[in-house]
């Protein structure tokens, strides 16, 4: 848990947002995050984020599913309890393809979604601090973190690159368990501590 100091600004147009990100980065400021109501292609690249490894993880989960299915069925039908189905071989691989395929898909999908939720800290009753409630609706919100080396000069930087409604905000960066209809009590205490 930690409350940090941020400078935030709103953008309404991608045409302004993209150059703004570039300029902010060029000026040496660290962009904490940009919150958008919909995925903007190229934004992750512009912000210099590395590619997600979720694909690779999905592949690994899928392979695990394949191995589980083949391994388990082989053990069950050829070693543990051999059953004679119409004189067919115990190791009837072609007949196992459907279940193997289904388990591959199941493991990959469930594993990827769980990994996605873990990485993005998404779960029921998870409460996070938001810079601007409109960032899930109709505006792009850029948040710059204020460190010891930088100061409120960022306000003017954000304004100069086309951001509107520029302000300083103290926000909790971690998640906690809570409800959205109640103000986070955790936050108020820690905010006082920062001041």
């Amino acid at each position: 848990m930690g409350v940090k100091k941020f400078v935030t600004g709103n953008f309404y147009d991608e045409a302004v947002l993209f150059p703004a990100i570039k300029k902010t980065r060029r000026a040496g400021y660290k962009i904490h995050d940009v919150f958008t109501p919909f995925p903007i292609h190229g934004l992750d690249k512009a912000m210099g984020l590395r590619d997600t490894s979720l694909h690779t993880e999905g592949f690994i989960y899928g392979i695990t599913g394949t191995a589980t299915a083949v391994g388990f069925i082989t053990r069950a039908l050829t070693i543990d309890w051999q059953l004679n189905f119409g004189g067919k071989p115990f190791f009837a691989l072609p007949a196992w393809i459907p279940i193997t395929f289904e388990l591959t898909v199941l493991f990959a999908a469930v594993g990827m979604v769980l990994t996605f939720c873990y990485l993005c800290q998404l779960a029921l009753f998870v409460r996070k601090d938001h810079f601007n409630p409109r960032s899930t609706d109709d505006t792009f919100v850029m948040a710059l973190e204020c460190t010891d080396k930088t100061n409120d000069a960022k306000l003017s930087v954000l304004q100069s690159i086309g951001a509107t409604d520029v302000q300083v905000q103290y926000k909790e960066t971690e998640w906690w368990l809570g409800r959205y209809d109640k103000d986070g009590n955790v936050l108020k205490k820690t905010e006082e501590a920062v001041h």
Partner: protein, 395 residues
């Protein structure tokens, strides 16, 4: 089960084919998929007779040996296929819903709405990194769902096709079932969305163009199903097997046989009537589309009726032919019950959840990033001195 296919088809396959029009209808179609699979998945359980033993189909270490389930049986494949399909569809649907639920949460005025959507949105913020992962997840889930859709209905058809009952024992069943599933699924999407768009005033999002495109899919898949019916007949004749011939030409095609009428209802509803959609005027006629969608749903119900009843009500022994199948009150009850379950779920969904994929619509409607990447080159090649100078100038 068939109805439960259009949703994933629209979401997954059309996502892979980058069909922009899917965004208007995909969320509702996915929801329909999930509710339909919930209904469909019940029937095997009811048909087991001893419902309380339904968990016997799961390969768990048991006190009977352990005696494992038969992994070589299409019925067990079905268990895995349907449960996987349900799980993956649910994950795909809900992961897509998260950003939209977050939008509702942040726009909510009432306390209970904030609480409800706050819990349901999993704490989604719209962070760029999260969107990047979300995009990757959607794409891979779409890639996984596409073969899954095909496999599930293929496996459903294996329940019939791997048997030796005349009329079921055909190799054309897998593609024919998949086409039929898409066909009936799109018809059901039309039925639901024509009403939904009217009631919720979504005419600007689910446009006549959407309806028309879906009608094109209906005429395509309806024709594929028609070809499959004819192929079946041809193969029955060509095989020169007396039992196959009897099943197709006596039990089905012959209008004077006890169930001949059901075959011709099926043919009329599924093959002949959708041909009207070759005309673009008809495709854009909403009343006709609604009427046709109901007709197709009836036709596709009769498809199953024909396959099951006409193949088994007269078996190899003519002495046992006297049975004229009539559903019992319990069978009708189960069927009506699924209507209740399906529509209850769908109404709750359309009342409390976003029927339109909000984030995806915004993504389509807003200009995309391509225009700006061009401008980015200028900034990329810009001299640092010049940039600094500009900054100074701005101040």
């Amino acid at each position: 089960m068939g109805i439960g296919h259009a949703g994933t088809l629209i979401s997954a396959i059309l996502l892979l084919f980058r069909q922009g029009w899917r965004t208007g209808v995909n969320r509702a179609a996915e929801a329909m998929t999930i509710f339909a699979v919930m209904c469909a998945g019940q029937f095997p359980i009811w048909h087991m007779g001893r419902v309380w033993n339904a968990f016997f189909v799961l390969p768990y270490p048991n006190t009977r040996g352990p005696l494992w389930v038969n992994f070589n049986s299409p019925l067990l494949w079905d268990v895995f296929a349907i449960s996987t399909y349900f799980t993956v569809s649910l994950l795909f649907w809900y992961s897509g819903l998260l950003p939209d639920l977050a939008t509702l949460r942040d726009r909510a005025k009432k306390k209970w709405r904030k609480a409800f959507y706050g819990v349901a949105a999993f704490g989604w913020t719209g962070s760029t990194k999260h969107w990047q992962r979300h995009e990757a997840l959607s794409l891979v889930l779409a890639g996984l769902s596409t073969p899954l859709v095909l496999s599930v209905h293929t496996i459903v058809s294996f329940d019939f096709a791997t048997s030796i009952v005349p009329g079921w024992h055909t190799t054309i069943f897998p593609p024919y079932f998949v086409a039929g599933a898409i066909f009936s699924g799109f018809a059901m999407v039309q039925t639901l969305l024509l009403v939904t768009r009217k009631v919720l005033g979504l005419q600007d999002y689910i446009t006549v163009e959407h309806i028309e495109v879906m009608n094109k899919v209906i005429v395509l898949t309806g024709s594929i199903v028609g070809i499959a019916y004819l192929t079946e007949l041809f193969m029955a004749w060509y095989s020169a097997v007396g039992y196959e011939n009897f099943a197709f030409f006596e039990n089905r095609l012959n209008l004077n046989s006890p169930y001949g009428w059901s075959y011709w209802i099926m043919m009329g509803c599924n093959v002949l009537s959708p041909q009207i959609f070759w005309s673009s005027k008809m495709r854009r006629n909403l009343t006709l589309t609604f009427f046709m969608s109901i007709l197709i749903n009836i036709g596709m119900w009769f498809k199953r009726f024909v396959i099951i009843v006409t193949s088994v009500y007269r078996d190899y022994l003519p002495s046992s032919w006297s049975t004229y199948y009539t559903p019992t009150i319990w069978e009708v009850g189960f069927y009506m019950g699924t209507f209740g379950l399906f529509f209850t779920c769908y109404f709750l969904f359309s009342k409390f959840f976003p029927v339109i994929a909000i984030a995806e619509i915004k993504h389509i409607l807003k200009k995309n990033g391509e225009n700006y990447k061009v401008k980015m080159d200028v900034i990329e090649s810009e001299k640092v001195e010049k940039f600094a100078h500009d900054q100074e100038h701005d101040h």
